[in-house]
């Protein structure tokens, strides 16, 4: 039975991926409770719509909502994703894949990459990638779901999706509306706050409609209509560390086989993404306007395309950073309203997911306890900060100095949290651990080694294994990975066989 202090109404301001993910999750998770959920969006206001690659956590989100994978994939033209290929980040001509999985098995509590460092020192030329099932599978265009047999190599990875974020939002809209979410078409022109508390009481639309709610979720994008314009939460600008402030996005035709990975290619003043979906390829150029003009950035993007454009490029501006308070009074900012970090590691949708998950964990009552809000802000703030450091690593773990941007990063003063991490790695391949954060040890290993930051020394414990024994063990690991990949079906075939094919089934591509 609802108590007087219980939240009885939620208004989500803004559609797009953030708004509809919030709506769908709240509709599913609050089902059966007397809480009315309304989402207001305006067809006049475009959504950013460029976030198309995801992280494995999205599967937990979908599963929690009871979303069928094949159905979702058909609706969103999705492909599978085993990781991200980074090109030209360490040196021009380099490439590596940051996989969703580890590199080799831990032995005697020592992670495999330490043994690999010893192997390398002894003259072995195998790549660390060769010990990663998801990397080799991705390179060979193969995919399967992880095995439940924990002893199998095929269990040592996760996977995500590459999908059309606009179609995902549309899919979730259908999901949410079926579960009672009311969609109101309209543009918010005024925010009414309580005179005493400053809480948001209503939002008023262009047509005069007033929407009231106990809890507001601000998914209005960069503007932060409620969290910033009304409540003036403030913004921590991180562009000193991550200076990219523009993006151009353009779709191209599918060209050749569908690869189960996203590509991020470093450029002179930013980087270019390539995300293969079933029906098209998403491309974009993220860059810093201090280092390149918009026209040059456009030209670089077009020159880097491998297929004809399907539409005119869309342009975006942004400031990297985070809202000082993601949750203030009775407003919670999720998605771009909460902050922005460039999608170099596909974190945008994950940050939306985190925002929703933590809101459900600390779901308020009408008292909006200060401690609840402080705890939410602490958790989300930690997520943002740790992702920031990981993204920054890509820019600073480099040997490039061939443009103004790269030289800028070489001279950059880093946050202590990152500089200590880099120093520990460089000295001895030590990874400073944390528990709460998106990118754990294997991710850091992938970027450090992928971008040629090889530690000066390795863990002394690996010396307990002779080079001969280690070489034999390494060969065995590589052989098991290779054998497992050979058993793995081709990616496009798997999409078809798993029922996830939309156009593929029709076109027989």
């Amino acid at each position: 039975m609802a108590e007087q202090s219980d939240i009885s109404s939620i208004c989500i301001v803004g559609g797009g991926t953030a708004g509809w993910m919030a709506a769908a999750a709240l509709a599913a998770k609050l089902a059966g409770l007397p809480i009315a959920i309304t989402l207001v969006e305006s067809d006049e206001i475009g959504t950013v719509g460029v976030g198309e690659a995801t992280l494995p956590h999205i599967r937990a989100f979908n599963v929690a909502l009871g979303i069928d994978e094949a159905e979702m994939m058909r609706a969103t033209e999705a492909t599978y994703k085993l990781g991200i290929e980074f090109c030209d980040w360490g040196r021009r001509g380099d490439r590596y894949i940051h996989p969703f999985g580890d590199f080799g098995p831990t032995t005697n509590d020592v992670p495999f990459y330490q043994y690999w460092l010893k192997l390398r020192q002894s003259g072995d030329r195998s790549r660390i990638d060769e010990y990663s099932y998801p990397v080799i599978a991705a390179e060979q265009g193969r995919f399967r779901r992880p095995s439940g047999d924990l002893d199998a190599v095929e269990s040592t990875f996760g996977y995500a999706y590459q999908f059309d974020a606009g179609l995902y939002a549309k899919f979730l809209r259908g999901f949410a509306e079926k579960r009672g979410v009311s969609r109101i078409e309209g543009k918010v022109v005024r925010v009414v706050q309580d005179g005493e508390t400053g809480f948001v009481r209503d939002v008023v639309l262009t047509n005069g409609t007033t929407l009231s709610a106990d809890l507001f979720i601000d998914c209005s994008g960069f503007r932060g209509l409620l969290i910033e314009t009304a409540l003036q939460s403030g913004y921590d600008d991180w562009s000193a560390w991550l200076p990219c402030n523009r993006a151009i996005a353009v779709p191209t035709q599918s060209n050749g086989a569908l690869r189960p990975f996203t590509r991020a290619t470093a450029r002179t003043a930013g980087w270019q993404w390539r995300i293969p979906l079933q029906h098209r390829v998403g491309n974009g150029h993220v860059y810093c306007s201090s280092f390149i003009s918009d026209d040059e950035a456009h030209d670089q993007l077009v020159a880097g395309l491998d297929a004809p454009m399907q539409a005119e490029p869309r342009r975006l501006s942004f400031t990297t950073g985070r809202r000082r308070e993601f949750w203030k009074k009775n407003v919670v900012a999720i998605g771009l309203a909460g902050g922005f970090l460039e999608p170099l590691e596909s974190t945008s949708i994950n940050l939306i997911q985190d925002g929703i998950t933590e809101l459900l964990a600390v779901f308020p009552d009408k008292g909006f306890a200060a401690r609840d809000i402080a705890e939410y802000n602490r958790r989300i703030g930690l997520h943002y900060e740790r992702i920031r450091d990981f993204l920054l690593l890509h820019y600073v773990a480099t040997q490039r100095d061939d443009s103004e941007m790269w030289r800028h990063f070489r001279n950059l003063r880093l946050p202590d949290s990152l500089s200590e991490r880099i120093e520990a790695w460089r000295t001895r391949g030590h990874l400073i651990q944390y528990e709460f954060g998106l990118f754990l040890s294997p991710s850091w290993v992938a970027v450090f080694l992928g971008q040629n930051l090889v530690p000066d020394r390795h863990d002394p414990r690996v010396e307990s294994m002779s080079v001969d024994a280690l070489t034999a063990r390494a060969m065995d690991v590589r052989a098991r990975v290779d054998a497992a990949v050979r058993r793995t079906p081709e990616h496009t075939a798997f999409i078809r066989e798993s029922g996830g094919a939309a156009r593929l089934a029709v076109a027989g591509a």
């Binding site: 779901f363 306890a369 401690r371 000295t427 030590h430 528990e435 020394r457 010396e463």
Partner: protein, 468 residues
């Protein structure tokens, strides 16, 4: 423990010297308490001490945890047992349903608590998929131990001729420019090394010469008496308070160890047993220069919980991940070791301090001194649970959310409200689920043998089976 771990994990090219100072460590080691956590099993294996070796080579017994007698609100008792994460039901943590239902006790759902109260024990199964299928599979266990016989087990695990073993009184410690340059035992030459590990206990014979600063101040004394027992007692340590301190009874194989803790200025009543004094707290730097303080040389927490042994194990595990790669500079290792040591110590102190937030404890000098002002993070943890049953966690805490949950419920902390998402479920179905779950635990506990029978049979098996 340190030497055994080093000997097992480091290559033979690393020379290990044990300079055993002539001193009876049995007294100071009392501050390690008598109970360890579930992490000990893996730690011991990594040091070359298998569980059969521990059972046959020491007086160790299995432990579900500690019973805090009359410690909770209203004078109730509870068993602070070890347990894997409780089930999450439709996205809601199980304990939220208890709060919703007005159920005030968590122990019926914890096999360690129920079996502990019945005095029964068996090893939890560890087959894949077992967790969640059987109540026993969610239970975890640690050990009851006597530090002296525990140490002997590890000494026996050191491969012969792997270490250079010296014994004597410490006569000289060379220090120059912030590093140890060597040590000498009576009648022997100076021993030099690249890295010195100070396991000398609270006196920190080496580390204190590099950094004497100690952060802490509450001085306690501890005494131990052992009473011979023909039959092994229950797999639960019993902790009770009195005006001037607290006492613990720990069933070991062959005896029961009684520990008494009081203020350092109180008169000591050890009846011919062991006793020691120490000041709680930690060294400002656990690693200074080329010297690392392990265990009590770097930090001491009150053995009210398994924290002392957990911290000792963590010290050694942390050391192994940071064995220096160069003698020229250990700055990176020192910084990282000290950061994590400080955090582990803080978290352990917080957990111990949280145990004192109960009106059942007397308002005496001892307990007033023990209840110093909680820090902001502990206040936040306690407040969030009190308000809404939310478990706030920080990175890599030694005590898991389940440990906190068991403590909160055990002490009688009742959240003001529950997770609203729990209201989606039909209340009658929830009640049936919870009743079934409790019944399963009760049935499982009833099927277990008594602790002494289990241990007797295990010992017999281990002594007969040559493969142990």
């Amino acid at each position: 423990m340190t030497v055994a771990t080093l000997a097992r994990q480091l290559p033979d090219t690393v020379r290990i010297t044990l300079a055993e100072i002539d001193r009876d460590h049995r007294c100071a080691d009392l501050f390690y308490g008598t109970v360890s956590g579930p992490g000990s099993y893996a730690f011991n294996l990594a040091a070359g001490v298998t569980e059969p070796a521990l059972v046959l080579g020491s007086s160790a017994a299995f432990s579900w945890g500690s019973k805090y007698v009359h410690w909770a609100e209203g004078g109730r008792s509870w068993i602070q047992c070890f347990n894997l994460t409780l089930p999450v039901i439709d996205g809601v943590l199980m304990h939220q349903y208890l709060v919703q239902q007005g159920m005030t006790r968590l122990d019926p759902f914890l096999l360690g608590a129920v079996a502990g109260s019945r005095g029964t024990f068996a090893h939890p199964p560890r087959s894949p998929g077992a967790a969640g299928q059987q109540p026993l599979a969610r239970a975890e266990y640690g050990y009851h131990f006597d530090p002296a016989s525990h140490a002997r087990c590890f000494a026996a695990a050191v491969p012969p001729r792997r270490i250079h073993h010296l014994k004597g009184a410490l006569s000289r410690v060379g220090v120059c420019d912030g590093v140890i340059t060597g040590i000498a035992l009576d009648g022997a030459d100076m021993v030099t090394a690249d890295l010195y590990l100070d396991c000398s206990g609270p006196s920190a014979e080496l580390l204190s010469r590099l950094d004497p600063a100690w952060l802490g101040g509450r001085a306690l004394q501890i005494s131990a008496d052992d009473v011979a027992e023909a039959r092994l007692g229950p797999p639960v340590r019993s902790v009770s308070f009195h005006d001037q301190g607290w006492a613990a009874q720990t069933p070991l194989r062959g005896s029961t160890r009684s520990l008494t803790v009081s203020d350092a200025t109180a008169s000591c009543n050890a009846r011919g047993g062991l006793s020691a004094s120490a000041t709680l707290g930690r060294r400002r730097r656990a690693w200074a220069g080329n010297c690392v303080g392990i265990g009590h040389a770097a930090g001491i927490v009150e053995p009210l919980t398994p924290a002392p042994m957990m911290l000792l194990e963590r010290d050694i595990e942390r050391l192994m991940t940071l064995i220096p790669v160069s003698t020229a500079s250990m700055t990176v290792e020192e910084r990282e070791y000290n950061r994590r040591h400080g955090e582990d110590h803080h978290h352990a102190m917080r957990f111990t301090r949280a145990l004192l937030e109960t009106s059942a404890l007397p308002d005496s000098d001892f307990w007033r001194a023990a209840r110093d002002t909680p820090d902001a993070e502990l206040e936040h943890k306690l407040a969030m649970f009190a308000e809404r049953g939310l478990l706030v966690s920080y990175d890599l805490e030694p005590f898991h959310p389940e440990d906190w949950l068991i403590m909160h419920f055990g002490i009688g902390r009742r959240p003001r409200r529950h997770d609203r998402l729990a209201d989606r479920a039909d209340a009658k179905r929830v009640r049936r689920y919870l009743d079934d779950a409790a019944q399963q635990v009760a049935n499982a506990a009833a099927a277990l043998p008594s602790n002494h029978v289990y241990m007797t049979q295990l010992e017999r098996y281990l002594r007969q089976d040559p493969r142990k």
